[in-house]
Amino acid sequence: MDKRYIYVLLFVVGSIPFFVPMVLPLPITEMTSKYNDFIESIPDGSIVAFNVQIYRSTWPMLGSGSAVTTTRLFEKDCRIVFFTMSASGVPMIDFNVQEAFKINPKLSDKVYGADWVDLGFVSGDESGLAAFLTNIPGVLPTDSNGTPLEDIPIMKGIKTGGDIKYVINAAGSVSSPPLYFQRQWVAKYGVKLGLIAVKSTGPQVTPFIEAGEMQGALIGTGGCAEYEALTQKPGPALSLTNAGSITIIFLMLLMVASNINYYRGRK
């Protein structure tokens, strides 16, 4: 089959849920369930570190999970220390917070510096994270606005990675951020880590979740949609999941067609 036909068919099939709203059932997977339990187990008022490493390209896939998590943490009066391990993720921190305020407008009275802070970009990937965790004010003496950390109330008493007990890593990348967060933060400082990750990271992190090294994960749009359903904050992930379901059915049909085509060609 000419690939152009496949492209057109994919476009048509993938567009259906956007024009014809559907309510499809949504079972909750174990990973999402564990993630929700982890978020709910964080004591009210705790300080949580949050790596927003979601790019604009992966925001439709994972952004909702990140924004709903931020909303839920703010609702629990948790104070959030945002940072990013990606240079292009810097503007996404503010975007993420604004999305959380849209989900629950009552939260827009949260005060920068007291309830949340944006530390900006931590460069150097795994080595950079290791350095950051050994001396947070040493690596980032100011927040992303240039305010010294000692002048920011939420940062009082936070010197190393061990001073924060809960970490969320939202990484829209298939490389290894979840694993190096586990190595550098969980293994060294014994913190509790929750993940928001792309679908292909799922198999990579399953062993760590089963072993209790990571507390839970929202994997792909499906995981984010499940979390939206669990927290009763319906958003874009639920409608995207419907589109995903229909596309997957179409991909299965494509696969059957390719096999039929292959065996017909052999005869």
Binding site: R56, P91, I249, M255
Partner: protein, 211 residues
């Protein structure tokens, strides 16, 4: 003398940095040694920032050369150079949070990135058509597991077929996890081997291009 600067000195720097960080990570060491180890790690962040600058300079130089020599695709190089200079210029002169810089990020960078990523959707479709073909028993096993995993990602299907979620969870928790753990342990052992070779100066990949 050149050989000392290009080969011997980097090897010694690497050896000393590697040993100091390794010892400080594994053992309880005196405070001064711990501070040296921390400083070495901090230096990574500084080096990475310089690497980003170096990357931008290298990208610029290569594209200027391409444009001057009018090699194929030189017009794209001009677009790249204009974008690079404009973004860096606006970012440095007006600030990263200025309206102009954010306009570039929100209305140029974001849509372009999203557009490029969305092309994957179509690539996956054609990849499924071309590669998921039952040609032999191994391919059949791969195909069955792939289908079950893919179907497990479609809530509409998992709700329709009873037991599919449980089967999918089992695939992730048993066969997949065994394979993943094997790969991770292998990777870990490999990384230890490479690290030891690098610290001892036997690994020369970082000296690429040098004898």
């Amino acid at each position: 003398m050149m050989s000392f600067y290009k080969s011997t000195l980097p090897k010694w720097i690497l050896f000393i940095c590697g040993i100091v960080v390794l010892i400080a990570s594994i053992f309880v060491v005196p405070e001064p040694l711990k501070n040296v180890s921390n400083e070495i790690q901090h230096f990574t962040s500084i080096l990475t920032s310089f690497a980003i600058c170096l990357g931008a300079v290298s990208l610029g130089i290569n594209n200027v050369k391409r444009t001057v020599k009018k090699q194929s695709g030189w017009c794209y190089s001009i677009v790249l150079l204009i974008s690079l200079i404009a973004t860096i210029g606006i970012g440095i002169s007006l600030g990263r949070k200025s309206a102009n810089f954010m306009w570039i990020y929100n209305y140029l960078y974001m849509p372009l990135q999203a557009a490029i990523y969305s092309i994957l959707f179509f690539q996956v479709g054609t990849a499924v058509y071309r590669t998921f073909i039952v040609k032999n028993p191994t391919a059949t096993v791969l195909l069955i597991f792939a289908c079950l995993t893919i179907l497990g990602g479609a809530p509409a299907i998992t709700c329709t077929i009873p037991g599919l979620t449980a089967l999918n969870d089992w695939i992730l928790a048993v066969p997949q996890m065994s394979g993943s753990r094997g790969i991770m342990i292998g990777l870990g052992v490999g990384i230890i081997g490479i690290s030891v070779r690098t610290i001892l100066g036997r690994e020369k990949a970082y000296q690429m291009g040098e004898e």
